[in-house]
């Protein structure tokens, strides 16, 4: 009997152990790849933060036959020999398209900081403070509005920095170290991209600077990341010191310009004090006869970023251009029809709807809907083997459109101040938490539709997929019980309309 028992136990145990321990991905699973093109004319593409690439002056490099350059090569050769396992891992991690890694770092920090302040014991709430970021609640609260703006500044700065780098690369045409001395190993797929200034150094420096401003408590973490990235350029045999210095210089200069714009774009006033918030609510009530209220316990006195709708736009000329029409009044036939749909869905929740609601939830603690679309863009960039410049272009246009869409959506949210389903439908319960801002229009729908339109433009083969995803993201909020169908439909139209302004700019930027 003991033998039988032992056998049964052993079989159960081994079967069980062998079925666990799967590999859980913590970053995109890709290695360096051959770029589909080098975009030699990239230095002529339209910039956003500067008038022309020549605005940032980068001196000519020393000649590859000079003693100074030969000394740099010798130093590089030494750096590429006897690499330890950590250095080899760093080379593999950063790859020849580090735009992707910095985007992942940005998304991770968004998820880390996307935590809503808890109430104080007396029922009040304290807001994060940019001047005292370490005091609870930590700064920032990386909600969707904050995150879309963070990603826009990051990608626009990366893109402008790389246009400047490409301008000088193809002005000075310094060959790669491996081409100059073939005893220097090249860790990545070889390319004919001129090496001065280093595109990797532009990316490392500008990304570090933008993200350090957006996430001040992460300065040390980001400095370590950037230092490793810059070292890896040498370990990989990609750039000599003067390439890296020139690249970092561009990154520093562009970072300053991006942060100067950010400091005056109106974001610091987006989270209003209560009297301003109340006046916005009263204005909506006077205009339309309804108002949204926060139903949390204890109630939050101010919704999320009431004046985000006034933040400076990228490509949309003014926010009124894409303000959606007045939503159906509570109690109207059209309203009641959408309410019936919500009740029906919650009463008959099925696995498919539940999964869609959760799949797109992107709520507190996550990278938010803008983060979700950045993840899709990253996957397409890898699939289509884009070089860093074209990758940055993809992120920059998409994130400008997403931020403009967010601003437009927030304008509508606080202009119409429309109540959420849990407020308008007595006893209504949901499968996701209702966010702390008005209902109309749906942020998920607007963000997603804008992102999908830009991705559809950049990746025409994926257009149908992207638009179907945006529609599913919009539907997900109805299934979750936190938006009416008219919120979602108006959001889809709004995002599409906003994105057109960015797409028109992209069509004329010289990259096509």
């Amino acid at each position: 009997m003991k033998n039988i028992l032992s056998l049964i136990l052993a079989v159960l145990f081994l079967g069980f152990i062998s079925s666990c321990e799967m590999d859980l991905l913590t970053e995109a699973d890709y290695t360096d790849y051959e770029f589909s093109g080098l975009d030699a004319n990239g230095g002529t593409w339209a910039t956003t933060l500067i008038a022309t690439p020549g605005t940032i002056v980068v001196a000519a490099p020393t000649d590859v036959t000079s003693a100074a350059y030969i000394a740099e090569l010798a130093s590089l050769k030494a750096a590429t020999t006897r690499l330890n396992s950590q250095q080899i891992e760093a080379i593999e991690y950063w790859s020849n398209n580090p735009i992707l890694r910095w985007n992942e770092i940005a998304l991770e920090l968004a998820a880390k900081y996307n935590l809503i302040p808890a109430p104080n014991p007396d029922g009040t709430y304290t807001l994060p403070s940019s001047t005292d970021p370490g005091r609870y609640p930590n700064f920032p609260f990386a909600h969707p509005a904050y995150t879309c703006r963070m990603l826009a500044y990051l990608s626009v700065a990366q893109f402008d920095g790389l246009i400047v780098a490409w301008h000088y690369k193809y002005t000075y045409n310094r060959v790669s170290p491996h081409q100059a001395d073939n005893t220097i190993p090249a860790a990545y797929v070889e390319s004919n991209l001129p090496s001065y200034p280093s595109d990797g150094a532009v990316i490392a420096t500008v990304s570090q600077n933008i993200l350090s401003a957006m996430f001040p408590l992460e300065k040390g973490y980001l400095a370590d990341k950037a230092a490793e990235h810059l070292f890896s350029l040498k370990w990989a045999g990609l750039n000599v010191d003067s390439d890296i210095t020139a690249g970092s210089f561009i990154g520093t200069e562009i970072g300053k310009l991006a942060l100067a714009r950010a400091s005056t774009d109106g974001m610091s006033k987006a989270q209003t004090p209560k009297p301003v918030s109340d006046s916005i609510k009263t204005a909506a009530f006077d205009r339309f006869g309804w108002q949204w209220d926060n139903l949390e316990a204890p109630p939050r006195p101010v919704g999320l970023a009431p004046l985000f709708g006034r933040v400076r736009l990228w490509n949309l000329p003014n926010v009124e251009l894409t303000r959606p029409p007045v939503p159906p009044a509570p109690g109207s036939a059209e309203f009641l029809e959408d309410v019936e749909e919500l009740k029906d869905i919650q009463d008959n929740m099925d696995d498919e709807k539940r999964k869609i609601a959760n799949w797109w939830s992107d709520g507190l603690g996550s990278y938010t809907p803008p983060g979700h679309w950045n993840r899709f863009a990253k996957d397409f960039i890898i699939k289509y083997k884009m070089n860093p410049l074209r990758s940055a272009r993809t992120f920059a246009y998409m994130n400008m459109a997403i931020m403009d869409a967010g601003i437009s959506c927030w304008d509508a949210k606080y202009y119409y101040h429309y109540p959420r389903p849990i407020q308008a439908i007595p006893g209504f319960k949901t499968i996701l938490g209702t966010p702390n801002f008005p209902s109309y229009t749906s942020g998920h729908s607007t963000f997603s539709s804008a992102a999908a339109e830009v991705l559809a433009y950049i990746f025409p083969n994926e257009a149908a997929t992207c638009r179907a995803w945006a529609q599913e993201a919009a539907d997900s909020r109805i299934y979750a019980g936190i938006h009416y169908r008219f919120d979602a439909e108006a959001g889809i139209d709004q995002g599409k309309a906003v994105a057109q302004y960015t797409i028109e700019k992209a069509q004329a930027d010289g990259a096509n």
């Binding site: 009997m1 003991k2 028992l5 049964i8 136990l9 159960l12 145990f13 069980f16 152990i17 079925s19 666990c20 799967m22 859980l24 991905l25 913590t26 970053e27 995109a28 992942e104 998304l107 991770e108 998820a111 880390k112 935590l115 809503i116 302040p117 808890a118 109430p119 609870y136 609640p137 139903l295 949390e296 316990a297 204890p298 919650q346 696995d351 539940r354 999964k355 959760n358 799949w359 939830s361 992107d362 709520g363 507190l364 603690g365 996550s366 990278y367 983060g371 979700h372 993840r375 849990i422 209504f428 319960k429 949901t430 499968i431 996701l432 938490g433 209702t434 966010p435 702390n436």
Partner: protein
């Protein structure tokens, strides 16, 4: 907003999910003779209005009081005098009186277990027993483990190996200790990005393994018709993250629990084989877990067909 806490303690107990005290379970030292069947039905009502976010005990007005009702039908069989088989499937229903998130209900995990008696040795005025137990459980419905604090369970396959040591005096008093390790597979959730001290790009969440210890003192009275028992139960996850401030819990969380309970079992003399039981338990300490108070009871019927 999702203000959500950890889904409940996993199914570590068979006949007695979440209430470590009653019936012939995989936690006790009682064996049924060969050919005996036991049918049991237990009811458990658990509730909390405070929970531990990491190690911080707090309330949440958007949850209010959470209640969790568990009804567990169980079946046990004596394969041999010294080898018993168990099978159980709890039905769980959760809801809360605060906030607007909907509760859920459904069948949770099916458990099967084997308990063996490897030693019963006379020592002084009593006997020493040693019983190993192996248990496997797996979800029987498509419940979402990533729906704290309402989730029905952890949504994983679990394998538990337990060792039970008991010393029972002939006069009826006994002391018992048990130690178990619970291995858990990943749980599949309905999103493919989440934060667990860093980004994860996968639909799978790592659910921590855990140790479970229990110390028990009990006594049989009235010619073995009545049993009183008290337990101190501990769960210690071997890994996992903390619930972040004012954020929802998730299956990756490190769940620790210290719980005490008292139970009474009565074998109805007039109806041989029939037993009723009742218990009360409360949580003393915890981590990433509701501060549960549970009350429950059940009825078991043991019979022989041989």
């Amino acid at each position: 907003m999702k203000h959500l806490i950890i889904p409940i303690l996993s199914l570590i107990l068979l006949c007695a999910n979440f209430s470590p005290t009653h019936a012939q379970t995989t936690m006790d030292a009682i064996m049924m003779p060969k050919g005996d069947f036991c049918l049991a039905l237990t009811y458990d009502h658990g509730e909390w209005d405070e929970y531990w976010e990491g190690s911080l005990l707090r309330t949440n007005g958007n949850v209010g009081t959470l209640t969790r009702t568990t009804i567990t039908p169980m079946f046990a069989y004596g394969i041999f005098d010294r080898l018993n088989f168990f099978l159980g499937v709890p039905y769980v229903k959760t809801k809360s009186d605060g906030g607007q998130l909907t509760g859920v209900d459904g069948m949770q995990d099916i458990s099967i277990a084997l308990k063996a008696e490897l030693m019963d040795k006379q020592l002084w005025k009593g006997k020493v027993y040693f019983l190993p137990v192996a248990e496997f459980s797996t979800p029987v419905s498509n419940y979402l483990s990533d729906y704290a604090p309402y989730s029905l369970g952890l949504g994983t396959n679990q394998f538990t190996l337990r060792g039970i040591l008991q010393y029972k005096l002939d006069m009826g008093f006994y002391l018992r200790g048990s130690a178990a390790h619970i291995w858990r597979t990943e749980t599949k959730v309905e999103r493919d990005y989440y934060y667990n001290n860093g980004s994860y790009y996968t639909e799978w969440m790592d659910v921590p393994n855990a140790w479970n210890y229990q110390a028990t003192a009990g006594i049989w009275l009235l010619n073995n018709a009545l049993k009183f028992e008290g337990n101190y139960t501990v769960i210690r996850s071997t890994s996992g993250d903390d619930i972040r401030p004012w954020n929802g819990g998730q299956p990756t969380n490190k769940v620790n629990v210290d719980q005490i309970d008292g139970a009474i079992h009565y074998y109805i003399q007039q109806l041989p084989g029939l037993r009723v039981l009742a218990y009360y338990s409360t949580t003393l300490e915890g981590r990433n877990m509701g501060k549960f108070t549970n009350i429950g009871g059940g009825i078991t019927y043991q019979f022989n067909i041989l």
